[in-house]
């Protein structure tokens, strides 16, 4: 029996989803629905924009105004939607490669502008849809089909990149920690400016198999045992934090939101 949440927020006739058994994305998609439910938003006024990749299929399953766009460009489309109709609640779901490689330019500039969009990154550390190539978040030394001898690139810390570029709310959750992740997404949507919530997902099919991480259960257990709250992380040394998943609200700052600023320009110069 489908839960009330599924009935209310999912397009049941387009389920089941295409994600592999054990993928963390389904949990994260549910967290997004739960966050919207908790906030009591009007589904007709929510626009969910996604790019291309495993994560981006979420748009097709969720019962909002949904736009599955081109690879990496979700935030650019979303910027047009939000600028044109600031009253709409615009949420982007992107993957790690989608958001920070091909879409990296759009990510930093959406952050710089502080446009009122909620960017949710389902980070599974790999390009899943194309079969397991290393991504900008694949940890150093780990393997992908295009890094058969180990990844020699330094990975991005997506919330840090976003914060440095000007995002006024950044956070990290995980597929394991659904309750806390839902709250972080909720807070990101409530936040007026540009918010980025990185959600650590798991990809047992490619990342897990390539790097001998065991089953989906083993990978979730890893998330459980290696998650550290933001509060606890403050008491730990960089060495102690090595390889840990810091979960919670990572940064928050103040800057005027873009569409509100533009409205002020209109109010000033519009010829009545």
């Amino acid at each position: 029996m489908a839960s009330n949440l599924v009935k209310k927020y999912f397009r049941e006739d387009h389920l089941p989803h295409i994600w592999c058994p054990g993928c963390g994305h389904g949990v994260l998609m549910k967290d997004v629905a739960q966050a919207v439910e908790n906030l009591g938003l009007d589904k007709d006024k929510v626009v969910l924009v996604s790019g291309i990749g495993c994560s981006s299929r979420a748009a097709g399953y969720m019962d909002f105004n949904t736009m599955h766009t081109t690879h990496g460009r979700a935030l650019a489309f979303a910027t047009g939607i939000k600028m044109a109709r600031p009253e709409l609640e615009v949420i982007c779901i992107m993957g790690d490669g989608d958001a920070s490689a091909i879409g990296g330019n759009h990510l930093i500039h959406a952050a710089r502008r502080n446009i009122g969009i909620t960017a949710i990154v389902f980070n599974n550390d790999i390009y899943g849809m194309t079969g397991g190539q290393y991504s900008p978040t694949t940890p150093y030394g780990e393997k992908g089909t295009t890094a058969p001898y180990g990844n020699i690139d330094r990975p991005f810390d997506i919330p840090k990149v976003a914060e440095a570029a000007g995002a006024t709310y950044t956070a990290r959750g995980s597929a394991y920690d659904a309750v806390r992740t839902t709250k972080l997404i909720e807070e990101g949507i409530r936040h007026k400016g540009f918010s980025v919530i990185e959600c650590a997902s798991i990809c047992p099919t490619y990342y897990g198999r390539k790097n001998k991480k065991g089953s989906a259960v083993d990978m979730f257990r890893w998330q459980k045992e290696n998650s550290v709250s933001v509060e606890k992380a403050k008491t730990m040394t960089p060495e102690e934090l090595e390889g840990k998943l810091v979960i919670g609200e990572l940064s928050r700052s103040e800057f005027p939101e873009l569409t509100e600023q533009y409205q002020k320009i209109i109010d000033k110069v519009q010829i009545k």
């Binding site: 909002f64 736009m67 460009r73 047009g80 600028m83 044109a84 330019n105 110069v269």
Partner: protein, 374 residues
Amino acid sequence: MKNVKLMQGNQACVEGALAAGCRFYAGYPITPSTEIAEGCAARLPQVGGRFIQMEDEIASCAAAIGASAAGVKAMTATSGPGFSLKQENLGYACLTEIPFVLVDVQRAGPSTGLPTSPSQGDVMQARWGTHGDHPVIALSPSTVEECYTLCVRAFNLSEKYRTPVIFLMDEIVGHLRESIQIPEEGSLEIVNRTMPKDLNAPAYECEPGSLIPSFAPFGHGQRYNVTGLIHAKDGFPTNSTEIAHNQVKRLMAKIDENLDDILSWEEKDTEDADVLLVCYGGTARSAYSAMEDLQKEGIKVGLFRPITIWPFPAKRLEELSRKVKKVVVAEHNNGQILLEVERVVKNNCKIDFIGKVNGTVITPDEIANVVKEG
């Protein structure tokens, strides 16, 4: 009272867009189209619209499409190198049937080329630049006044057929200054998209007898899905070979079966012409002069100027080519519309060509010489 203004082509394009109801512009700086962005930045908030300078050409094309999906008529403008970058999302708009106007003020290429000398080198890119079979409407203005009126038509066609329209300007008309008569408010036909009668109906369902689905902007309660994947009438992806076939065929048919409405061209002195000049955009201006000079010498020359470049007004050109001894194609490239003319004219008459790729303007004398060469 007549409202006559001295205006640059790029500026006329901005004013035409506003008259058509455009209320959103996203762009990235590139010459020779920059004045369009500058004009929109100044003018849009004055009419309650919004302007944004995006981080790149790809993003500005995406933002324009996003704004249109949210129900606001949108435009982006660029030039050669930027036109290449916009191709990705142009294809997305073709398949998702989201209207917007993409202006390309052509400059000499390839690559960075000769900034910002005149060229018409993007004619074939306008037709086939984005991957896959897709419908295209491209319009080419020859005068500053046409930069205004034809830009209005670009929006109208885009909304009517739910397809992106390429406004294929060139540096000659973009930077030209002429006095134009601004049409009176209310005198222009303005086409707006039609809302679906039933918000519960599949988002891409066409009314009986129509090839164009109606269009509810985001936020109006239909909550449909938009995707760049081949999709069924409900907007959701499918791998059905039958649906894929039908979708691409319908996209092409909505243009091909409405040619009488879409096609436009100008003819001058074609009735008893021995030689027919085929020119468009800025080049047509040299052709007019050449024609006048040649007619003074007693040579019977006519002009055929496609205004819709794509779809190409093939049927009329074919008819005319049966009546003349020679067709002369002049364009600022190495022979792009020439390929289309050859395809249409076949062996009906001789075809001569003059093209320039060095960033200079084809002069009336150069065209006249080709006409006289026999």
